[in-house]
């Protein structure tokens, strides 16, 4: 087994960490240390007056309401109409992989968020495996992948890069943007990952799982849960593929891995919740556990008997086939525990594998926690890290009943999330805590979409005389530039970040900022800036393509039309929310460059710097 990606770098640069030489000092920074220390002191003293926090809760909008107001804001307008370009841009930040001028114009022309949603719901899914089969061509004697599906595993090192390329391509260019965006959100809730001994060598299994999320993104949550449960990729990731009833090996018990995580992470969570997502406390004010270890044991008995379609209950690595890796698991009943089970206070009489699993998943689907638990996380992934209880309650109510008596209708839920007053007007309603930090993947997709990054010919050939493939892509497969984040590459089933993550100072104020967990490990500005400014080190090291189209921006700089430039960038990138001071500082910089007789920077490079300044600024990082 060879680790994929390891050998991709054509020009490995070996730097000794400490092999550095002294350079002249940078005195400019010194004075700022004091500012930082001051900032930290201030951090500890900032607090939300409890009255304000209470007010946030108290003024939360009632379900179905449209008339609630605060002093400075009211809903006199029809909140579902697209009233200006900036609102359109903000909406597309939540519902797509980033607005472009074209997508903003299109939404504005439509004039209605609802009709945009309806159109998105009706688009056929762009499936990643289909793209692979249509586009990945073998060269230098290697067969096309569509004709040689077993090469997915045989050449998994090489084709693991293709998995990334496909994701970047479709995230950026697929028409079914909302579906792809929601699939990413699902992949961060219903987590599987390359970081697993078996899945490491099965890029087709990972792609197939992602396609399941794409396909089911707008379906019913119970169907999604069912399909996830039967997918061999999840079966391998949480180790219940080949999970046998107790005593199959002397003294053994069923594997509890999926049994626990399907409750803790995929449906009901650890604690009993109110419909608004807050903790339902007992009489002593303590949280109440949703399930016990006994429930986990019983649930583990349910998930016995499944294996993939290789024909062996405990398939060896050599037994696996492309078909088995990408088709639902099947039951081998002799390994299933047919006894009655008692789960979360309910009885399952006990029967064959399929009957038991359907019954157990139905208990989870119907659990009152599932709506608020799942809906709050989807809100966090798409709109805001700290939704008001009212927002969660309104969406949960739609989860519980779409208005036609159907529970778990995800089209209705996604519409409720994106059309809620708090989503459309959160910046005005909750200026102190509205928004979410963009995760690194979304920085890059937005950059590509906003500036029409062009594909280039990709040649995958990581070994001399080894398998070789070609297709058109951004060639962004070989980089670690997203650091801790790439699709389906979390370190654990707890995702790159959890819904509860926050820097300590925010936690003290009762706020979370999950995506900052990714920023915390590694700064991402340097890499982002490297990509935007086309830094030769970054591009050459990783052989990146993704040529940005900056003719408009370059021309505006040449003509010194700075306001026009900044108007457009503000709309495209920060949805009209670039702060006045940021804008002023950037404009001053442009003017300053102008006065130099030999500035040594081309107009295009200046455009790149300006884009980079905006996209690495806090104004941009916090999507509002």
């Amino acid at each position: 087994m060879h680790f994929p990606f390891r050998n991709k770098l054509k020009k490995p640069v070996h730097h000794s960490l400490f092999n550095t030489t002294n350079k002249p000092g940078n005195k400019r920074f010194i004075g700022l240390i004091a500012i930082v220390l001051l900032g930290i002191t201030t951090a500890n003293s900032i607090e939300i007056p409890s009255s304000t926090a209470a007010q946030h809760t108290a003024t939360a909008l009632k379900p179905g309401g449209g008339g609630a107001s605060q002093d400075h804001f009211s809903y006199s307008r029809d909140s579902h109409k697209v009233s200006d370009y900036a609102d359109a841009s903000a909406f597309l930040n939540r519902a797509t992989f980033g607005p472009s001028r074209e997508s903003i114009n299109e939404l504005f022309r439509k004039g209605s968020y609802e009709s945009w949603l309806q159109e998105q719901f009706s688009l056929p899914p762009s499936l990643h495996m289909q793209w692979a089969e249509d586009n990945i061509r073998g060269i230098n004697g290697t067969g096309d992948i569509v004709d040689h599906p077993e090469d997915w595993k045989r050449y998994s090192d090489t084709l693991s890069y293709a998995q990334r390329d496909i994701w970047w391509h479709l995230a950026t260019q697929a028409k079914d943007q909302l579906r792809q965006r929601v699939a990413l959100a699902w992949s961060e809730i219903l987590v599987t990952s390359v970081n697993n001994g078996v899945l490491l060598t099965q890029p087709d299994a990972r792609i197939s799982y992602y396609d399941l999320l794409v396909r089911d993104a707008f379906g019913n949550f119970e169907q999604l849960l069912h399909d996830v449960t039967y997918h061999p990729t999840m079966g391998k990731y949480l180790s219940y593929l080949g999970n046998a009833k107790a005593g199959t090996t002397p003294g053994s018990h069923p594997d509890e891995n999926y049994a626990r995580e399907v409750m803790q992470l995929f449906t009901i969570g650890l604690y009993e919740l109110n419909p608004d997502g807050s903790l339902a406390l007992d009489a002593q004010g303590n949280p109440v556990a949703t399930y016990s270890q006994e429930d986990v044991r019983e649930m583990a008995r349910v998930f016995t008997g499944l294996t993939d379609q290789n024909g062996f209950f405990f398939p060896g690595d050599g037994d696996t086939t492309h078909f088995a890796r990408t088709q639902p698991m099947i039951a081998m009943e002799e390994y299933h525990d047919r006894g009655p089970k008692h789960i979360l206070g309910q009885d399952i009489p006990g029967g064959d594998t399929g009957t038991d699993i359907t019954a157990a998943l139905h208990i989870l689907f119907e659990h009152p926690n599932t709506g608020p638990f799942i809906c709050k996380q989807l809100i966090q992934r798409l709109v805001t890290s700290n939704p008001s209880p009212g927002y969660v309650a309104r969406v949960s109510q739609v989860f519980n009943n779409n208005g036609k008596g159907v529970r778990g209708d995800m089209q209705a839920v996604i519409s409720a999330i994106l059309l809620d007053e708090e989503a459309l007007h959160g910046a005005e309603l909750y200026p102190r805590r509205f928004g979410k930090f963009r995760e690194p993947l979304l920085f890059i997709t937005h950059l590509f979409r906003a500036f029409h990054a062009q594909d280039a010919v990709t040649v995958l050939n990581i070994y001399e005389d080894g398998p070789a493939y070609t297709y058109a892509s951004y060639n962004f497969h070989g980089t670690g530039f997203t650091r801790q984040e790439a699709p389906l590459e979390a370190l654990t089933v707890f995702n790159y970040f959890t819904p509860f993550d926050a820097p300590y100072s925010l936690k003290q104020q009762g706020l979370v900022a999950p995506e900052l967990e990714v920023y915390g490990k590694q700064g991402i500005d340097d890499l982002l800036m490297g990509i935007i400014t086309k830094n030769s080190f970054v591009y050459q090291t990783y052989e990146l393509a993704a040529e940005l189209q900056l003719q408009r921006e370059t021309a505006w700089i040449a003509r010194r039309e700075y306001d026009r430039l900044l108007d457009e960038l503000d709309l495209l990138l920060t949805a009209g929310q670039l702060s006045a001071r940021s804008r002023q500082a950037i404009k001053a910089y442009l003017v300053q460059q102008e006065s130099k007789t030999d500035k040594g920077i081309s107009n295009e490079q200046l455009a790149r710097y300006v884009i980079g300044l905006i996209m690495t600024s806090p104004d941009y990082a916090l999507q509002r």
Partner: protein, 462 residues
């Protein structure tokens, strides 16, 4: 991901060229240490998180025939073969562990350290609210909330408490005792995870990579004075500074965090001029995340310039956090993880010996939880109590501390097939913290629930 690591190292490379830009002035003045701040000699704690819940029962196993038979009958297909174990003799100083044990056959390095008296085993330690027996648990005695869940149990280890009342990590709390205003270099996170252990002090724990990567590569892209981009760099910082007092609390927190990260590395000039390089560390094979060996190598390198840190930052004490992924072995044996841990710890202790600071650095392991005694056919599930390892010249090694449980499902130490901890997390950690310099009163403050347990410390350190 390994390729992520690879590129990270590359970026570390280019970043360091510029990391040394600014002279370090002024900071020493601003760091205030209280009179009780620890003096010399230098001491460090290195905390190794075995992430995912380590199956320690496949690291240490009984060797005597009867005990082994129990172990074998309980673990069945995942039991280690008796004749493969590396037997060791322990002092049985506390009289609680008369039986003999052996280590897994690929733990040669840790076995040698144990025999040399530099490694101790802490038996069956875990999260507790109060001492409990099997019958206590069966009769509803209080036990920690959400046993067996990764995140909650790991959190309780990091907080040094299972009561739910603590929100700062014990590393951060120790720092607050030592340094009134905090010390940015007291808690150093070398892992690829953020961690609660070091969260909540006056300074967020420095993430060592962050310190290098961000600002200096920004310099390389034309955002620093060296490449003629100082004007750009000023605009860049302006965009952050102007949001420090943002009305949006998330925005303000982010701006503060990034400004801190951006500026901190500029305190590093010359700090690593005399850094040592070490042999013996490796990347392992198929490691998930940043390999433990690389992390420990980095800690050794920082320790090699500890005098510079002491001179500039008064860091006579430091806590380093490192982690190793891959221990959640539901469907596999953990041979690979065990061997790599042993080799990496061995290399680290060797590096400390080369620097002559074996007595000044103590390394301790902790994990989410132990694992089930019985097999699920392929691996094991989430458990509770687990053994831990403490390593260093100041450790009274070659012995087992606390009491080894009887490894049978029907043993009085088992709740079903999970081990009920016989030593609290608090007692284990307080022993190391006492050596680190905390007074008895401070131990009670850092580990508020310590008084619930009969023993405050275990005696594996002076």
């Amino acid at each position: 991901m390994s390729n992520t690591n690879y590129s990270r190292r590359q970026f570390l490379g280019i970043s360091l060229a510029a990391a040394t830009l600014s002279p370090l002035t002024g900071l020493a003045r601003q760091l205030q240490t209280k009179d009780s701040a620890p003096g010399t000699p230098y001491k460090a704690l290195v905390v190794v998180l075995l992430e995912g819940g380590a199956d320690v029962f496949n690291m240490i196993a009984p060797t005597e025939a009867d005990r082994y038979a129990d172990y074998r009958a309980t673990r069945e297909n995942i039991a280690l073969p008796r004749n493969s174990l590396l037997p060791f003799s322990h002092l049985n100083g506390n009289g609680l562990n008369p039986d003999s044990y052996g280590m897994r056959d690929n733990m040669g390095a840790m076995h040698s350290l144990f025999e040399e008296g530099k490694l101790a085993i802490i038996a069956n330690t875990g999260t507790l609210l109060q001492p409990v027996t099997r019958s206590d648990v069966e009769n509803g005695a209080p036990v920690p909330f959400e046993l067996f869940a990764h995140n909650t149990q790991r959190s309780q280890w990091m907080l040094g408490s299972a009561t739910g009342a603590e929100h700062q990590g014990w590393g951060a709390r120790i720092g607050n005792h030592f340094y009134t205003e905090g010390n940015p270099w007291f808690n150093v996170n070398v892992s690829d995870s953020n961690n609660l252990l070091q969260t909540g002090g006056a300074f967020e724990a420095i993430h060592f990579d962050d310190a290098y990567v961000s600002p200096d590569t920004m310099t390389a892209y034309g955002f620093g004075p060296e490449s003629g981009g100082s004007e750009l760099g000023q605009v860049y910082q302006t965009l952050y500074k102007q949001q420090l007092e943002s009305r949006n609390l998330l925005m303000a927190a982010f701006a503060r965090k990034r400004m801190d990260e951006l500026l901190r590395p500029n305190r590093l000039e010359g700090l690593f001029d005399n850094v040592l390089n070490f042999d013996g560390f490796n990347d392992g094979v198929h490691e998930t995340g940043k390999p433990l060996g690389r992390q420990l190598e980095l800690v050794a390198q920082i320790l090699s310039v500890r005098q510079e840190f002491q001179n500039r930052f008064q860091t006579n004490r430091q806590i380093f956090f490192v982690n190793q992924h891959g221990w959640d072995t539901h469907d596999s044996d953990n041979a690979h993880q065990v061997g790599y841990l042993s080799d990496s710890l061995g290399a680290f202790q060797h590096a400390l010996a080369d620097m002559g600071i074996e007595n000044q650095v103590t390394t301790l392991t902790l994990s989410d939880f132990g694992r089930s005694l019985t097999s699920n056919s392929a691996g094991t599930d989430h458990g509770w109590g687990s053994h831990a390892f403490v390593m260093g010249g100041a450790v009274n090694g070659g012995d087992i501390y606390g009491r080894m449980p009887q490894m049978r499902n029907d043993s009085p130490d088992a709740w079903s097939d999970r081990m009920i901890p016989t030593t609290a997390v608090e007692t284990y950690l307080a022993t190391a913290a006492k050596w680190f310099g905390l007074s008895d009163a401070e131990l009670g403050s850092v580990f508020p629930n310590l008084s619930a347990f009969p023993e405050r410390t275990l005696g594996f350190m002076a």
